[in-house]
């Protein structure tokens, strides 16, 4: 065994008074933490295997369990913190690149929490959304800035293809492979019920899900898995993935161990071979190349579908967005660095990219300055956690937002951040059939619908408070935001005044 440098992060606390030895914890833990000791007629636990996913805690019928972060730690050191030391031990053990999942847990500023929303008082009265119509429907796509007439002088009303969203929220890309069949089905069913969209990610579209095509965004990424004309035409829009907030600048990699029969079929690659998405698209080295791919996809779908270009929020994002807005793309999706992932190198996830709030504000500002804001719609994602974040994003200039982590939480994810292990006890980030079945899409989709419906009510309520009755009137309305505890530079980038001003 040698020396064990890594100690359990969590301790399983079982209240012996309450435990009825029903063994549900044992049956439900794919990490094999719990077991039954017949001799003592007691449940026992192996703390070293616990990832703190709470499956056992949630299902324990007598609430006899809790998982506690160990208070055992290294000698206090503000510089060499425990997790830093542990990472070094891990790498010294393995020689491997640290792999992590979900969004970064590091303590970076969350600008959403440093912005406050306005409300009407006395003048410009607020609106009661229970009594008066409140519009949250929005359309994504190129908006013509000119009125055009035909040779007879009649108005040409035909617009570029648009995505119509009942609520300005969409489920962002998660591939079948990174998440399970049932997680995908839950998203698809919910998108259909809500009149919004979910996104295939780069995993192809399972044959069972073609029926949800009207509420599907199909993705084309550097690996082009499962991409063919039928796929491109199945969705309501096509997204070219250039980058992802959690891992800007690098590609994706679904290990061969996760490529079972069904995923192999959907991605159209052999079973058990790695699915590697290269870091760049090897046919895109310039905005001109990007334009070429945008138009290839438009040609492939006879100009019937809007094309989304998704990029990670990085340092010069406004210049990049400006290029994309000129590439013929209809929608730009920007993914902030706090966004989630099924697996990413930890160093990249935790250190590369910029917060979505700053990226969004600077992109919206830049596109307006250049007079090309109407060329594209802006969709932002990367840790949108509540309806308040949605309101703030729209006020900063977004047309709609993408959520993924919030959606997974609705499905039961407990953010244990071990997706890469493939042993998701909630049936989400796993391909093991006995775990996948834990997520009944009927339950999952209902929870998603509940979440988004609740957010929509809250959005309407806050809009009403601002005296705004249409989401379109909130977009880019930065007067509705004030900063709190932000410095001059931050306020300037966000384009908002400080609270009290």
């Amino acid at each position: 065994m040698g020396i064990n440098y890594l100690y359990p992060d969590f301790e399983v606390h079982r209240d012996r008074e309450k435990c009825i030895t029903c063994r549900v914890c044992e049956r439900q833990c794919a990490n094999e933490v719990h077991s039954y000791d017949a001799e003592s007629n007691r449940m026992v636990s192996d703390d070293t295997k616990c990832v703190n996913c709470h499956r056992c805690v949630s299902l324990c019928p007598t609430h006899a369990l809790k998982i506690v972060k160990t208070n055992h730690g290294f000698k206090d050191n503000a510089n060499w913190k425990g997790d830093v030391i542990q990472d070094i031990y891990r790498q010294a053990d393995s020689g491997g690149v640290l792999l992590a999942s979900m969004g970064t847990p590091k303590d970076y500023p969350v600008y959403w929490d440093k912005m406050l929303i306005n409300a009407s008082q006395v003048t410009n009265p607020s609106i009661d959304p229970l009594r008066e119509p409140m519009e949250t429907k929005t359309f994504l796509g190129q908006k013509s800035s000119k009125i055009r007439r035909d040779e007879n002088g009649k108005l040409i009303t035909k617009t570029d293809p648009q995505l119509a969203l009942n609520i300005p929220i969409m489920f962002s890309a998660m591939s079948y492979g990174s998440i399970s069949y049932n997680a995908h089905k839950s998203l698809a069913l919910a998108a259909q019920k809500l009149g919004i969209f979910y996104n295939t990610g780069e995993g192809g579209l399972h044959e069972d899900f073609y029926q949800y095509g009207k509420n599907t965004i199909v993705q084309v990424a550097s690996g082009r898995f499962g991409v063919h004309p039928e796929y491109l035409n199945a969705g309501a829009a096509i997204e070219i993935k250039m980058g992802q907030g959690a891992k800007p600048g690098i590609g994706g990699h679904l290990p061969g161990s996760k490529i079972g029969e069904d995923i192999s079929k959907t991605r159209m690659i052999p079973e058990h071979a790695d699915a590697i998405s290269p870091a760049p698209h090897h046919d895109i080295y310039s905005i001109e190349d990007l334009r070429q791919l945008v138009y290839t996809l438009k040609e492939a779908t006879a100009y019937t579908k809007p094309i989304i270009v998704k990029v990670a929020a990085v340092h010069n994002i406004s210049a990049i967005a400006s290029g994309i807005a000129r590439s013929g793309a209809d929608i730009i999706a920007i993914d902030g660095f706090r966004g989630g992932t099924g697996a990413a190198p930890a160093r990249t996830r935790d250190n590369v990219g910029i917060p979505i709030e700053l990226a969004l504000a600077s992109v919206d500002t830049r596109l307006r300055q250049e007079g090309i804001r109407n060329n594209v719609s802006l969709v932002v994602g990367g840790s949108i956690r509540s309806s308040a974040d949605v309101i703030k994003a729209i006020a900063l200039g977004a047309d709609a937002i993408y959520i993924a982590t919030s959606a997974l939480l609705a499905l039961g994810c407990h953010l244990c951040r071990t997706c890469q292990s493939g042993k998701c006890n909630w049936g989400i980030a796993t391909q093991r059939p006995e775990l996948v079945k834990r997520l009944n899409p009927e339950v999952g989709s209902e929870r998603l619908v509940n979440l988004i419906t609740a957010w929509n009510h809250e959005i309407k309520e806050m809009m009403g408070g601002m005296g705004i009755n249409s989401i379109e009137a909130l977009r880019g309305n930065r007067l509705m935001l004030r900063g709190i505890g932000l410095n001059e530079t931050e306020l300037q980038i966000l384009g908002i005044a400080h609270a009290g001003q």
Binding site: E17, K18, C19, I20, T21, C22, R23, V24, R27, Q28, N41, S58, L59, P61, T62, A64, P433, E434, K437, R438, L439, N440, E442, V443
Partner: protein
Amino acid sequence: MKRVYVNEQWCLGCHLCEYYCAYANSGQESMVKALKDRTINPRIKVEEKNGISFAVNCRHCNEPLCVKSCIAGALSQVDGLIVVDASKCVGCYSCIMACPYGALMPNEEGVMQKCELCTTNTHGKPACVQGCPNKAIVFEER
């Protein structure tokens, strides 16, 4: 009539239905008090093998063979619900012989007990349904 329906596709084999059943029919207010250090004898049982699992309890048949076979008149069909009068049951097990689902089982005293959809305890709605974490057991009118 509303009945319990079981869908093996969503059954996780967690056995919680059995524990909620045993608790519901224990007459105790606390699950811990009801079940701690006891071998439970629920009215719903999970079958599991090779990764497949599903719960089985009384189907409340329209033509109940158990009722027709009961020598004591202890089983009867009341508004569709098959109930057992424990005081009349003599433990002959004719119902075990008759039930094609194997849904009846004796209690610790050898008297028959069966799922009565929690209509005869304080839970009101089937506890197995309420306790199922994945809607593998539903209570529906069909």
